[in-house]
Point group: C2
């Protein structure tokens, strides 16, 4: 049964709006979509154990190839049995190509989303790949399409992504065209190498293409049409959430969706907020990865169902508040601790603060996604969107 | 049954060496002694949940009155239902008087053990109490014997300690005599206030005296003899582990023990290392509090059964080590993670590092204490000490 269905996505239901229910089969388990994928940059979703992720209903986590490549190194991880064993997580893992971090070191507009110190630098970029200086120790590395796939194979990722030219916003049409040309060239090299390796593997990982093309309709369409020629397991949309206005982001995705086959999953890279999730699910996006809930948690921003979808627990008004973070939430944190205690933990930078807040925020997201799947099943997405104050 | 035995300690067995087995009854549960008490300075044993403490076999935690008084404030905690409810811990809690932190701000020798920034300062000390500047915001506070007891009652502590003059090492005989005189004077004020308050309470907390007297046999004896006149629930020994040689510490405790009644529990403040625990259990100490296992954990010092009883997981030699922290350990961390992964987490300052290491280190301590209790039962302490490389 497992082998028959492995490495495939099944469309289970699609609403007229475009929202879809599906199931993605990987060799480490099934992912019910729409799904939110929390980020575990260095092989750990910050502050939580894998057992807690399972309790929370997290189905898959997102690891960053750049970071794991530089430390501890993909070869060490392979030696130790791969990233699943290394990080004690037996569910699916998706990895990026490492490109986003390499580019975010050297290009200004990425400072919005990149969280790396200034030591790193993008040194050279050409058809072969990207040369850069490590943010850790200043050592020089060359990331190529083949290298990126090789690292991800060493990690043992379940879903791998090809190296792409991560363009900032805005770009001129000429710059965007050149960037897309490079992305497609790199894609072909990645794909060729992946195919060669996959043919030798009993259970090869899934391989998604990444659609780029900046904020140009023609280029985005061109990218989608180019990539759909290949027998890919799915499609990721890159180059959004790079500092552009929210409406632009929706426009770009709306251009792309009609170009994609209905029977393949669609991942939106680096998105989202609560409103983003609703909007893009309705446009036909199946999976999301984003640091938002985990990073917010570490800042004391606690997800709630009311705009702007968080409260800042570090504010003084919470110092004596005996209520749970969210009185309607049934997560471990809300069942057992007061806002006053969380405020106290954050004020004193106690380690437990980050755990309890991260647990709550991911519970908020897994609950949101369960409710969205349920609402697609019953065609009641609008009601749910109202409940979350999205519309 | 509960009310008959509450607030008392029962001696269950005593070996010729002096080592004892006992049970301390508090209104939040029974503590089997000898016991190690982890420190939860600000109402949280750093990085762990109360459920995890229970799993680990932690019976009671030690909170710091100084910190909770200044932030969030004992009155806020009282309003919120007391420290048990605030910190979601329904087991026993012991609190100190706040004195140690006040003194450690203003006196040099305490820098060894105090972990406070330089902003705070001890301003004046007299028979009424100690005036100091808060390390948090520079505000001026006056800690009196009565105030300290009142704060601990507001917190809802199960075992409270009176304000004492925390003398550094070394002191001249004259200084030590003056310091002890003040400690005893403060004790009388504390005790009077405690008795008055306790008479109004359905279930008053236990009250322990603190024996001081620096490194002078005559003063220590005098202190023990003075305190044993009062119907105290137990005795704490203060003014050790303040920078003196280890042998001196043992000498002081050996002077005191014969002066104490056999039917009352004995707590040693701020101790211990693995060897200390063995040595002092044999001298007749029943309970210990110390930041060692939890602080070591956050530094990457992982407790093991071999001298010096820890390994430093941050060392490069562990970067590729597939073994558990301790191959013979059955804790969650050792059952599920490699040294290489812990090394990686510590190197990248990942929050999970501190959790996994703290969990292991407290498991080491609760296991040690269980084995010690078992060894007293079977009179095999020497074998156990050999197993732990103490003798």
């Amino acid at each position: 049964m497992r082998t028959q269905t492995k490495n495939r996505w099944h469309l289970e239901k699609q609403l007229p709006s475009g929202a879809r229910l599906g199931r993605l089969y990987t060799s480490h388990g099934i992912i019910e979509t729409p799904a939110f994928i929390p980020v575990g940059t260095k092989g750990t979703v910050k502050s939580l154990t894998p057992e807690e992720l399972k309790q929370l209903g997290v189905q898959i986590y997102f690891a960053n190839t750049y970071h794991l490549w530089l430390s501890p190194g993909d070869k060490i991880i392979a030696q130790l049995g791969g990233l699943h064993q290394f990080s004690h997580w037996n569910g699916p893992i998706i990895t990026d190509s490492g490109g986003f971090q390499v580019f975010s070191l050297g290009r200004k507009n990425f400072s919005l989303h990149g969280n790396l110190a200034g030591a790193g630098k993008l040194l050279r970029i050409n058809e072969k790949g990207a040369k850069f200086r490590s943010h850790l120790d200043g050592s020089i590395h060359f990331l190529t399409p083949k290298k990126s796939v090789a690292i991800q194979l060493n990690l043992g990722s379940d879903v791998i992504l090809p190296l792409d030219d991560c363009s900032p916003y805005p770009l001129t049409l000429g710059e965007a065209r050149e960037s897309l040309r490079r992305t497609h060239l790199w894609f072909q090299k990645s794909w060729a190498y992946y195919q060669k390796q996959a043919s030798k593997m009993a259970v090869p990982p899934l391989f998604f293409g990444i659609i780029q093309g900046s904020y140009y309709h023609r280029l985005r369409r061109q990218s989608a049409r180019f990539l759909r020629q290949f027998p890919l397991a799915g499609f990721a949309i890159g180059g959004v959430s790079v500092g552009e206005p929210k409406l632009k982001m929706r426009e770009v995705v709306a251009w792309i969706i009609p170009e994609l086959p209905a029977n393949k999953p669609r991942h939106l890279l680096g998105v989202g907020g609560v409103d983003d999730i609703f909007d893009f699910v309705r446009l036909g996006i199946d999976t999301f990865d984003c640091v938002l809930p985990t990073r917010f948690a570490r800042m004391g921003k606690i997800m709630i169902k009311r705009r702007p979808w968080y409260l800042d627990i570090t504010k003084n008004k919470f110092a004596t508040d005996p209520r749970p973070l969210d009185p309607n939430c049934s997560c471990y944190t809300c069942q057992n601790y007061s806002r006053a205690y969380l405020h106290h933990l954050f004020k004193n930078r106690e380690l437990l603060a980050y755990r309890l807040a991260t647990y709550h925020n991911l519970f908020f997201y897994t609950t949101l996604m369960k409710c969205i799947r349920q609402a697609i099943q019953t065609n009641t997405l609008d009601n749910l969107a109202k409940e979350y104050e999205v519309i």
